[in-house]
């Protein structure tokens, strides 16, 4: 096997992260190469550096013998590097044929559109991967799996030598994934190099020849996929055996804080009921689009409900705005830390006090000393690693940024804290520190709704779990059921089966 791409000493930093640290990687023709690692470990950044989207701070890329320091996306494409991003970047309102042929025609410098040619290109490429599709349908109307095929064909039409695929299977069902894997193996036989990014371990082992593991921007190593098993792979990805301490409810108070009854918003979630006591950490899990985030938004006053009732401390209320939610003692750690959670250009202390401005004001004036005290208190309590509370929040690492958002809401002393995927893109160290804090909050009598799709973290942190699918609650687990062996397997299967059912016509 001959190497067709070599990247040497690639480094890239962004504000708040050293995304890549002296990475070397070699990609061979006729090989399926998997980049593995947790969220935010640098896989996607590396792909962007190799394909010319980012210019690396240091290092060079060598493609079929030619060296580049400042590779542009166009040069990369001309050299046969094709990237299929997670969102596929297709033209929704154009037909399948147009989508497949457009880049090729563009690169050949055609000034006019030749419909016959478009169709013949599209047909040729679809035959190559053995898929039949209606060429005249618009891409917006076809299934996710078929869109993936269109994206692959578009890349092949431009004489791809290396095909990068960023998490190609997240939106696909089991059968569709199997089909995609088959196509990948087929393409490999034809001499194409495929680099794919995934954190689904079973897929990685089915197709990959070589696995390169990343952790926090460092390359841990290249492994032959035969030399690894799931356990050793996840050990290399996380840097340790993951054993988080399990949460057990100790709170004696059994009177419910928050009760929701038959809560419904059509098209998002239906007929959701739950009762939450102090010290409960309720895991809310399900696929993206299962209605979990929408439900959280409704409880925080950002998404009006249509029917059903909400009771807080036994009293029926409606939560019409975030202001009302705050007054009732409900806090939300939003899903999108960067846009919804933080004022990225502001100081740590201004972020921590942002939900408390009226409280720290006296006659309209901010009491700066009090603001500093509060900020310092939560920075210490949550172990935010920072030179000072005056530091601009955007310069911190992801984990420390998340701690600041948690601190901001903890400072309001909430009774119910809704956390929407609190550990996405966060390093292991911060992760376990955040878990520790959450347990401490719950021990102190706070009720927590913990939204996540990582089963491991749900098992470690929650004493009850609700599984959502298509907006409905499909199963509830209480403390005893969760305690039994194999509960995690049952939950994983529940979610998995649901995703397969969803798309079968």
């Amino acid at each position: 096997m001959e190497p067709i791409l070599c990247a040497r000493n690639i480094s890239k930093s962004f504000i708040g992260v050293r995304a890549l640290n002296n990475i070397d990687i070699t990609i061979n023709a006729g090989e399926i190469h998997c980049l593995a690692g947790e969220n935010g470990c640098g896989k996607s950044t590396l792909v962007k550096c190799i394909s010319g989207v980012y210019t690396p701070d240091h290092g060079e890329v060598e493609i079929s013998g030619e060296k580049y320091k400042n590779l542009t996306p166009i040069e990369a494409m001309n050299k046969g590097i094709q990237v299929i991003y997670q969102d596929l970047s297709l033209f929704q309102h154009m037909t399948v044929a147009e989508n497949i042929a457009i880049s090729k025609l563009k690169f050949e410098g055609n000034k006019t559109i030749n419909w016959k040619k478009i169709k013949s290109i599209a047909k040729e490429q679809l035959n190559k991967i053995g898929v039949k599709m209606n060429l005249d349908e618009t891409v917006g109307e076809i299934s996710m799996a078929n869109r993936q095929m269109v994206a692959i064909c578009r890349a092949l039409a431009q004489d791809a030598k290396i095909l990068f695929m960023d998490e190609p299977t997240t939106a696909l069902t089991k059968t569709e994934v199997d089909h995609l894997m088959k196509i990948m193996l087929e393409l490999k036989k034809k001499g194409l190099a495929i680099v794919f990014i995934s954190h689904k371990l079973d897929e990685v082992f089915t197709v990959a020849d070589t696995i390169t593991i990343f952790r926090n921007g460092d390359k841990i190593g290249d492994f032959n996929s035969k030399d690894l098993d799931e356990k050793s792979l996840s050990y290399h990805m996380t840097g340790r055996e993951i054993e988080y301490p399990r949460y057990h409810r100790t709170c004696k108070d059994n009177s419910p804080i928050l009760e929701i009854d038959h809560l419904t918003r059509k098209g998002q979630y239906e007929d959701i009921s739950m009762t939450i006591r102090p010290g409960d950490i309720i895991g809310l899990t399900g696929l993206l689009g299962s209605g979990r985030t929408e439900l959280a938004m409704s409880l925080f006053g950002l998404n009006p409900t249509q029917s059903g009732s909400i009771r807080i401390n036994g009293k029926e209320t409606s939560i019409a705005s975030p202001m009302a939610a705050k007054k009732q003692g409900i806090a939300l750690l939003p899903e999108d830390r960067f846009n919804q959670g933080l004022f990225i250009e502001r100081k740590i202390k201004e972020n921590i006090s942002s939900a408390l401005i009226d409280t720290i004001c006296k006659k309209g004036l901010i009491r700066k000393a009090e603001e500093d005290t509060i900020a310092q208190k939560y920075v210490n309590e949550l172990k935010v690693r920072t030179p000072s509370i005056e530091t601009v929040v955007g310069t911190l690492s992801g984990g420390n940024q998340q701690k600041v958002v948690i601190g901001k809401w903890t400072a309001t002393a909430p009774k119910v804290f809704i956390m929407d995927t609190p550990t996405v893109g966060i390093d292991i160290g911060s992760k376990s520190e955040i878990y520790e804090q959450i347990h401490k909050f719950a021990d102190g009598g706070m009720a927590i709704i913990f939204i996540s799709d990582e089963i491991q973290e749900i098992m470690a942190n929650c004493n009850r779990v609700i599984v959502l699918a298509n907006g409905k609650c499909i199963r509830e687990f209480d403390e005893n059921e969760l305690g039994q062996d194999g509960a995690d397997k049952i939950i994983t299967d529940l979610i998995g089966s649901q995703s397969a059912e969803e798309v079968t016509p």
């Binding site: 930093s13 962004f14 504000i15 708040g16 992260v17 050293r18 925080f300 950002l302 705005s321 975030p322 202001m323 939610a325 705050k326 939300l332 939003p334 846009n339 919804q340 959670g341 933080l342 004022f343 990225i344 250009e345 502001r346 201004e350 006090s353 942002s354 939900a355 401005i357 009226d358 720290i360 004001c361 309209g364 004036l365 901010i366 690693r385 920072t386 030179p387 530091t391 601009v392 955007g394 310069t395 911190l396 690492s397 420390n400 901001k408």
Partner: protein, 340 residues
């Protein structure tokens, strides 16, 4: 030296602006010497600054929440027309002398606040972009003035009020002192109060503000009310200086206020900037404008120079942004290291 370095590092934009302003002042002094900084010329500049200054402060506030208020000039003129009607006796309701002036001030304050609140309500309730919303209200407010006056100027106002625009205290015009006072108060409000803090947060990231239980609608309405009020004050100053009010006075100020805000370090995307910056930019612009007059440049040349200035400032801002991005990156790497 270290101290200066620290200060410059703390607020790069403002430091550069101060440097630039000093450069302009010194250059102009070198070129024109006595005629530029004669008592008379300084006084005449100080008379010209406030009407434009208040409009620029109004524009600044709307820029700071990531919006724009195109209706400020229309607002100022129509408020001036209302006030002029009170002051010339048409709408005086039998008041005389000082009572009439007080009534006029109340009318001015109320109308300007109503115009501002109207802008704020439209923007908060319909989530229309402020550019479109205020374009509409600009035409509407202008229309009100037009319907009342038919386009002619309303004069013959109470001499007591006209005196206000001409009186001099401690060598400088009363209205200039008023401008400085209002700027100071506005600066303090922005940096010390809860309202000011919410304004920066809301302006910087309205989504995160909403997720932090900041009442965005209320903020939008309050900010545009304040904008309207400042524009109304500009209207009063115009009225007292010109002794009459009419639709369309000072229309060319609109673009200049935006230039001043950009030079003064206000980010049109919101959440950034300080009153000091805008005040310095206003004074600098006036000094240059004065210098152009002494050089007897034609209005066309002046326009050309303003245009070049704006483009230069945009270029400079780009360079500064790239530089501070690099600095933040470095700082961030340092933070990461110290955290480990």
């Amino acid at each position: 030296m270290n101290k200066i370095k620290k200060m410059v590092g703390k607020d790069l934009d403002l430091s550069i602006l101060v440097g630039l302003a000093l450069l302009v002042l010194v250059t102009v002094a070198g070129a024109f010497g006595g005629s530029m900084y004669s008592g008379r010329n300084i006084q005449s500049m100080a008379f010209q600054i406030p009407e434009f200054g208040f409009l620029a402060l109004a524009m600044m506030l709307s820029n700071m929440v990531g919006g724009i208020d195109l209706s400020i000039i229309a607002n100022a003129n129509t408020v001036a027309i209302f006030t002029a009607y009170v002051l010339n006796g048409t709408w005086a309701f039998g008041t005389e002398g000082i009572a009439r002036v007080i009534l006029a001030l109340i009318v001015a304050a109320v109308t300007s606040l109503i115009f501002g609140a109207f802008n704020g309500l439209i923007i908060a309730k319909t989530s229309a972009p402020s550019l479109i919303a205020t374009l509409g209200t600009m035409t509407l407010i202008q229309g009100i003035g037009m319907a009342l006056t038919g386009g002619s100027s309303i004069g013959d106002i109470d001499p007591l009020f006209a005196e206000f625009g001409k009186s001099v205290v401690l060598g400088l015009p009363l209205i200039f002192w008023l401008f400085l006072l209002v700027s100071l108060i506005l600066g303090l409000i922005l940096s010390l109060t809860g309202f000011g803090r919410k304004l920066y947060l809301y302006g910087g990231n309205p989504v995160a503000a909403r997720f932090s239980a900041v009442n965005n609608e209320k903020m939008s309405i309050l900010v545009f009310m304040a904008t309207g009020f400042l524009a109304g004050m500009a209207g009063l100053i115009i009225l007292s200086r010109v002794n009459s009010a009419k639709v369309g006075y000072g229309d060319s100020y609109l673009l200049q206020t935006m230039i001043v805000c950009v030079i003064g370090g206000i980010s049109p995307n919101g959440g950034k900037g300080k009153v000091q910056g805008v005040v310095i930019a206003i004074i600098m612009m006036q000094v240059m404008s004065s210098a152009f007059t002494i050089m007897s440049l034609s209005p066309y040349t002046k326009k050309l120079i303003w245009g070049i200035m704006l483009v230069l400032v945009l270029g400079l801002n780009h360079v500064i942004a790239a530089y501070s991005q690099k600095r933040t990156l470095k700082q961030s790497m340092k933070n990461l290291q110290s955290a480990q």
